[in-house]
Symmetry: C2
DNA sequence: GACCTTACTGAAAACGATTCCCACTTCCAG
DNA sequence: CTGGAAGTGGGAATCGTTTTCAGTAAGGTC
């Protein structure tokens, strides 16, 4: 499990970006930001909704989706489609990010990062004439626990 | 646009693999294989259904999904989730494959391949202790036409 | 070729994720 | 205050996908 990024930093960054975009604070959006900040790993919209409920923060599911949509547009969170369900995680303002490997058997997700991969992808974008502003890499297979050997 | 792979070859391969798996021939599954064979690029289940309709091959939508499920399990097609919708394309028996770049503006999809990327991903899987049997790479941004410069 | 078993199929219902709609609340400016 | 716009929650609607079920047909057996 990767260490959680400095939560307060991202949350503050997100809040100021939201303000800068002329959006009001308070309410559901703030709750979503708050919850995402303390989560290191990807969460589905429904999972976020559920956790907020558990924490007695009543937030409508629709508002969670709306908040995530805004955050994604502002590039404050990364969205990742896995098995037809969208998952979200805070995006480090520095641009630093990781990718995921998903186990076919236990469904667990591991994160990894690799500078060489990033460099290669940049170069590929350039070769295609694309102005690449995001990319996903997903590995699928058997994790060390599920495929002992 | 990449040249279409030798259609007959993949279709034949697919048919023989299906037979080898003890599955019956004829009917909806054959239609799906036939259609996929002549399509170079990714297609959603709904798109496949629609095209079969247009070609007067009446195939139920459920059967299209079922056929795609079988083909995916047998690794005869690759499945790619894009924007929460599953898309499929024939998988070359040689294992050779490509990845995709999607334009944020026009939505068009370009394919590319890169041996170095494949090598790097293999190595990453090894480093993680993962028995990686599939991987996706998706680039997003502005295509050359939409971002002139 | 007739028969039987069982896989396969299509249509419709069920389903889960996401979006839309609408009435209500909250915030802010005047 | 007060009016308007942004934001919100809940439920209805939508979309892609899966399941259910009754009917069809493939493939082996005689």
């Amino acid at each position: 499990m990767p260490a959680a990024p400095p939560s307060t930093t991202w949350a503050d960054h997100a809040r100021s970006e939201l303000a800068r975009a002329g959006l009001r604070t308070g309410g559901a959006r703030a709750e979503v930001v708050g919850l995402l900040a303390e989560q290191g790993c990807v969460l589905s919209a429904q999972a976020i909704h559920e956790r907020l409920r558990e924490a007695d923060r009543r937030v409508g599911l629709a508002s969670v989706y709306r908040a995530l949509d805004v955050l994604t547009t502002l590039k404050l969170v990364h969205r990742l489609d896995v098995d037809g369900t969208a998952c979200y995680e805070p995006a480090d303002p520095s641009g630093e990010h990781h990718h995921h490997a998903i186990c076919r058997h236990c469904g667990r997700m591991s994160a990894f990062e690799d500078p060489a991969l990033e460099t290669l992808i940049d170069e590929l974008g350039r070769r295609l004439g694309y102005a690449v502003d995001a990319h996903d890499v997903v590995l699928r297979g058997a994790c060390p626990d599920c495929a002992p050997r």
